[in-house]
């Protein structure tokens, strides 16, 4: 399975990569290391308590990949296989550090948009916007500025952990639904709830940012 982001990053197909890793091709290993470690660090950081600890999880994962690549059977994509090793390693360490990500929590219910933004019951247009959400500036070439992205990265850190894990895997890392369910041990329905809450929170943060910028 070749993902868009990886094909853009110029990575060869899985079977080619695996063959090169098995034959001791150092360039292939460096390519993967540089291509995937950033995302792996971010994901690891959601399980453990410090940056240093996250870096150790990523290092431990790569060591396991070096030792275990002969045992990779190609039943999942190579990246899925690596991410599984990563999440298992990170979870074990998270437990040791007493940072256990609770997979049930209270912040998963209630409206994701402030109810006061909608007309109340009794109004002829009950449940409809009082005022439409303010429009955002159209970014040039569809890209947000690096300042906005830095702000978004900060907002991400403010999310409850379960939501952050899901949105990091789905949107930031672009991992497929079924893989995220498996990695985190959650149902598809649960995943959608968490993803929705995370995106709605981040949309709200961007709205705040643009409002402040425009004022």
């Amino acid at each position: 399975m070749l993902h868009y982001a990886d094909s853009m990053a110029g990575l060869p197909a899985d079977d080619v990569l695996v063959a090169r890793l098995r034959s001791g091709d150092e360039d292939a290993f460096a390519l993967l290391l540089d291509g995937w470690s950033g995302g792996m660090l971010r994901l690891a950081r959601s399980f453990v308590s410090t940056e240093a600890s996250a870096a150790e999880v990523v290092q431990e994962t790569w060591l396991a990949v070096i030792e275990g690549i002969d045992g990779y059977e190609g039943r999942s994509s190579l990246k899925t296989w690596v991410y599984r090793i990563l999440t298992n390693t990170a979870k074990r360490r998270g437990i040791r550090e007493h940072k256990v990500v609770p997979m049930s929590s209270v912040d998963d219910s209630g409206p994701t948009v402030d109810p006061s933004r909608f007309r109340p019951a009794g109004d002829p247009f009950a449940g409809h916007w009082w005022q439409f959400p303010p429009s955002w500036p159209t970014p040039e070439q569809g890209l947000m500025s690096s300042e906005v992205r830095a702000y978004l990265a900060e907002a991400l850190a403010g999310l409850p952990e379960r939501q952050r894990l899901v949105v990091v895997l789905r949107d930031v890392e672009g991992r497929p639904y079924d893989e995220v369910c498996e990695l985190l041990g959650i149902t598809a329905a649960n995943q959608r709830v968490l993803l929705h809450r995370a995106r709605a929170f981040l949309r709200g943060k961007l709205e705040e940012y643009y409002l402040e910028e425009g004022s």
Partner: protein, 77 residues
């Protein structure tokens, strides 16, 4: 309209994933046709998800990277 804006905003992620039942999906489309506010909300949720794809990633500390390359060399080559 059978669906109000307050309901619409809660179903955006399901809608974007194509995970709604056909009837519920039609309700969303019908609502979109009539409501510029929700059209904007949907678009902003889409933009938010897309912006996340472009987030800069941290890099491994340089010494960790070279240790791993060395290990690869000694174990695999």
């Amino acid at each position: 309209m059978s669906l109000d804006c307050r309901d619409f905003v809660e179903q955006v992620t399901l809608f974007l994933d194509g995970a709604l039942a056909p009837e519920a999906e039609q309700d969303m489309i019908d609502h979109l046709a009539l409501c510029d506010g929700c059209e904007r909300y949907l678009d902003q949720m889409r933009q938010t998800a897309r912006a996340l794809e472009d987030l800069p990633a941290d890099a491994l500390p340089g010494d960790t990277r070279s240790t791993l390359i060395d290990t690869f060399r000694s174990r695999r080559a």
